[in-house]
Symmetry: C2
Subunit: 443 residues, 2 copies
């Protein structure tokens, strides 16, 4: 009988392993893809892409019995060679190859060049050929940093006693009683794709007090803008026993602080490669919705068109204003009008035209919506009616208010939007591995 | 201008905090739900449920100016009192209350009793009243352990140089060319819900070599069994540059070993509460599909009905056999017939009737399917045709084979099934927070 014991002989060789080996020189072996070949006749430079970086190898006829003609870009291979430190080389070392064993050879050349430093492709080309373009240094670095943000979210919330949950994406009612929801047939019944884990994360506050979820959400929005996706990754948390909705903003600030530090330590090479300017999150200014509307209108001599919501241009100006006046990339805009907030948003007892809610803007783009929720049963039923909805349709949700809930609230962060602003990209699609919009379901 | 600084004054008091405080006694304050009240006339026992446990408080008329009549089960409140160690008490301490401030009062009594130790409810009742039943000790403990398993999965793979990815759930083609897929309208086009991240995780092996994803998958299976869900959480990983498909089984074994240890350290109170017997995963036996079929047939004098797949009864007997003969709760069954494996499964070069694939059984139930994938373009195109499918429909997927892929493979683990077996539950629905089956879309 054969047994596994959890100890694979299949080891990974990382950039750090190679850098360490290069200090004393000697033989190394590694595997990877051939990122680029520069054939110089008697010898060739081979740029190899390994799990977490690229570096230069030198092939020469006299050092191997391998014919360079057999090697193509994007071949996967096992390599052997002698390593030496070289400060001029990317990665800080170079390998003189002594052996190459090809594992696989591609069937076609790359449809887009990915080994020229910059990715010279239109957005459509970048997305149409995602399997190829994601192999470029720039996109590898971006989505590694995206991983870091998600890690930061989880690790920070875990340290704050949050429990991770997994809630259903197939639901019986359009969560927020609204439009923009995908419908489908579910064994002869109607079902919807969840626009957010809202009702479920609130339910779980009754169970674990503090919960979070990272997962896909779906919005059937029929417009195609540079900052909307029809499927995106939402970072959600919800917490009970808050003293005010400011506790939620403090928790989000703590997450951002923790995550920026995590990126600095664990994703330094990616940040350096992309020359990312990390935002300052020591403190985040908070300003009321009605105040900031007025401030921006005065400062930029601009007429307010929509008194109940922030216009995209206003968001940009708010970003600019707070960067200039407070050197802050972030700003919390609080107390949104009740008209524009969903039925579960708690009204401000001091002025019920407004809610105890907020958006977080990052460099002029909304990346978070959050706030305190109604926890009292009668109050919630009344509010549903006042919004012209039927409480009977929310029976399942209202069970939580019936059986008792603490004061609570939470947020949802759009992961791709946060990344878009971090990298100063003009289109959010750059920050989804395989984006979905009205015209795009593939690859 | 107001600022957040990431430092909330809203602190959590955990069971560990209270236990530590009880050593010296003194005043403590905490918040939580009233889990149970036993009114004894002059005094009352109040069981309070806090973020990570329950414990007993004592209320008496002379110590507070609070009228016990105002307190209901499932009230949320802030409490003050004097703590003292008490070894007989659950949690190891007791609090004599000096102050109670009610934050919210439920509108109705609990529809199911959750404070009697065991949850005396049928499966349907348990699921219909999920917002209530999840507050019971038993379900709180179970889903905390489920969180631990997911943490173990991520943390272990992170330590093994895997990168986390987020892939789309809305896709243009039924991934495996098969049935059991949910269809929907997507802006006038047909779309499907992903049955697995299969194609995307393979694509990402070309980018990061080792990747994983934790996310929902959807199966439109039209049967209702005790071990099927129509939406479940899949733990997927995929790794490149494998020497054989055994590397994948070693990686899964490593994950299980790491996770069992994590549960022992970080989820000890939940394991103790549920009296969970953790499986032994020092080593896992591996047996070929055809051999184990024969073994079981001989040992239990049983006729083989389906030569190409394991029958559920066979799985149970395999579980029994390996527990008895090898004291193992797990067994890898390898080399499944090509007939029953999808078109991307790599055939065994020694006998192409079989594939380089495996299932992992845990206590007689399949919890994982995995294997090596075809990485060569021509081989993959031929295999698609041989399965009676049209390669044109897989153009987007085949791009990865065209531009070059290393030898690779991976697995998908059904999270709820793994939990079901860990807790020896008879129905997988117990292990989904809000299960989805043919008849259930709510709550």
């Amino acid at each position: 009988m054969q047994f596994t014991n959890g100890k694979s002989q299949n080891n990974i060789c990382t950039m750090q392993n190679l850098l360490t080996a290069s200090e004393n020189g000697g033989e190394v072996s590694f595997h990877g893809s051939v990122h680029k070949i520069r054939d110089m006749g008697d010898f060739a430079f081979i740029i190899v892409r390994i799990i977490d970086g690229i570096f230069q190898c030198v092939w020469s006829q006299e050092k191997t019995d391998f014919d360079i003609k057999d090697l193509k870009e994007e071949c996967c291979a096992k390599f052997k060679g002698n390593i030496r430190a070289d400060k001029r080389a990317p990665g800080g070392f170079e390998v003189e190859l002594t052996g190459i064993e090809i594992l696989s050879t591609p069937n076609a050349v790359m449809p887009v060049s990915i080994n020229k430093g910059k990715l010279n492709a239109t957005l459509d080309t970048e997305l149409n050929y995602r399997p190829a373009t994601l192999r470029s240094g720039i996109l590898r670095a971006k989505f590694r940093i995206q991983e870091g943000i998600v890690r930061g979210f989880r690790d920070y919330l875990h340290s704050q006693n949050f429990t991770e949950i997994h809630t259903p994406k197939l639901i019986a009612n359009a969560s927020e009683g609204g439009a923009n929801v995908f419908k489908m047939d579910y064994f002869g019944k109607k079902a919807y794709l969840a626009q957010s884990p809202q009702f479920y994360k609130q339910t779980m506050v009754g169970v674990y007090e503090r919960v979070f979820e990272v997962g896909p959400v779906f919005r059937a929005e029929k417009h195609s803008t540079a900052r909307h996706l029809n499927e995106y990754t939402s970072l959600d948390f919800e917490m009970g026993y808050i003293d005010s909705f400011e506790d939620i903003m403090e928790m989000e600030t703590g997450f951002l602080q923790y995550t920026i530090n995590l990126l600095k330590t664990d994703y330094k090479s990616e940040l350096d490669f992309l020359k990312v300017e990390l935002p300052n999150v020591e403190q985040i200014p908070c300003v009321r919705f009605s105040d900031v509307k007025e401030m921006i209108s005065k400062e930029y001599n601009r007429k307010v068109k929509d008194p109940n919501d922030l216009e995209p241009e206003e968001e940009l100006l708010i970003g600019k204003y707070f960067k200039e006046k407070h050197n802050s990339d972030f700003v919390f805009v609080t107390h949104y009008p009740a008209k524009k907030r969903p039925f579960y948003a708690m009204e401000d007892p001091e002025n019920t035209k407004y809610t105890l809610s907020f958006d977080l803007l990052f460099r002029g783009t909304e990346i978070t919506t959050g706030g305190q929720r109604i926890h009292d049963y009668n109050e919630q039923v009344e509010k549903i009616k006042a919004k012209g909805l039927n409480p009977d349709e929310f029976e399942s949700y209202l069970m939580i208010h019936k059986i008792g809930m603490p004061p609570h609230g939470g947020i949802g962060i759009g992961l791709e939007r946060l990344c878009m602003r971090l990298f100063n990209d003009e289109n959010v699609r750059h920050n989804s591995l395989f984006p979905r919009d009205m015209n795009r379901l593939e690859p």
